[in-house]
Symmetry: C2
Subunit: 227 residues, 2 copies
């Protein structure tokens, strides 16, 4: 049975680390459906650890990338799908304690359980050995995904694509204008228009930041002039 | 003029820290509307620094709180409003470089500019002096908000309230069931039902996680039985 594997031996073998506090790692590898202390609190912490490690990694590696690109690259690394891929590579599923009901779960619910446990493991690594230990393991485990980032970083966003499309035709740049903002300051919703007078075109976009709303409006305009 | 203040002297006075790399702090205190390197990349990094510091702080202080409560407490600390309050207390506005167009901006747009600059400052502190320096400053600056957390932690969530309401009446616990999940794994949307057979009541809730959808369904049921 997969639950019977020894989590501490697995950590030693798969992560190359000898836990000082084995209980932390047993907890990180215990889903809430199983008996015992589960990994939800460690997942909360580990998610933040991983986010910082990747933010710093991307900040240092992509010195010319703007905040939007950095943010997009990080999302690609910490998506449930990406984390589940890492978890599968280190066969985390073989050592994760699950309740009987969850053992037969397949598909994407299983993916999300594995991704959560991987985050919890980073919480345990951080508490047990500090940020540098968590960094070493994260960069090692995520190496395949990190290797693919250059290509992803070069994918242009809709605003850049629209600008280039217009410049190639000698047309003036689009005008973006905030048409409305709703919600309190921590949960705003923006509505922005994008106008290209030379083409007598105007589109609208919405989003949780001005930047996102502009990207959405630019994408709509591009779709109209260059389907 | 507010822009004329010396950012490095301000960091020394307000944060009690002598920057090793003054340029980092000048950049953190430069909004994108001003000339020069702006603070958007540092804000991306600083947001992650602050999130980790607060996650760890809450994890260690609220040892019995579940992930949902920890997450709720952190949101209250890092909301634009909460950060703008901290920024106002240290008079960050007096040293922030803004373009002419933004100088007269008031209200909540100004709040969000200040909150972003505060996050950028944590990015600069982290790069210049490491996580421990950022931690010292964060816990000091946020002390007033941290002092109010106990009260906030005791506010119960709808699922707990519903459970207690039913138990007080000797009724069986509600049954939650996922009725639908949409979207890719990194951007899911859940629809959940909450049923209390003894009351022949059933409500629905939606949210970006099963937990959030359940809370929303529980709140709807509570509102119906206990307006």
């Amino acid at each position: 049975m997969s639950n019977a594997a020894d989590p501490v031996a697995w950590v030693r073998r798969r992560l190359g680390y000898e836990p000082a506090q084995p209980a932390l790692f047993i907890q990180a590898l215990t889903h809430r459906s199983a008996a015992g202390d589960n990994n939800e609190r460690l997942e909360f912490l580990g998610d933040a650890v991983l986010n910082l490690l990747l933010a710093e990694y991307l900040y240092r590696r992509f010195t010319e990338a703007d905040e939007g690109t950095l943010s997009r690259l990080r999302s690609s690394l910490v998506s449930g799908e990406a984390l589940a891929r890492v978890a599968a590579r280190i066969q985390l599923g073989e050592v994760l304690a699950l309740g009987a009901g969850e053992l037969k779960t397949g598909g994407f619910r299983r993916e999300s359980i594995l991704a959560d446990a991987l985050e919890a493991l980073f919480g345990a690594l951080y508490l047990d050995g500090g940020l540098e230990l968590a960094r070493r393991v994260a960069l090692e485990l995520m190496e395949p995904a990190l290797a693919g980032l250059d290509e992803l970083a070069e994918l242009k966003d809709p605003k850049t694509l629209l600008q280039e499309w217009l410049q190639a035709r000698g047309l003036a740049l689009p005008r973006y204008q905030v048409e409305g903002v709703e919600g309190e300051s921590h949960a705003q919703h923006f509505r922005v228009s994008c106008e290209v007078p030379a083409l007598t075109q105007r589109t609208w976009g919405e989003g949780s930041s001005r930047r996102r709303a502009e990207q959405s409006a630019a994408a709509a305009l591009l779709a109209r002039v260059n389907p």
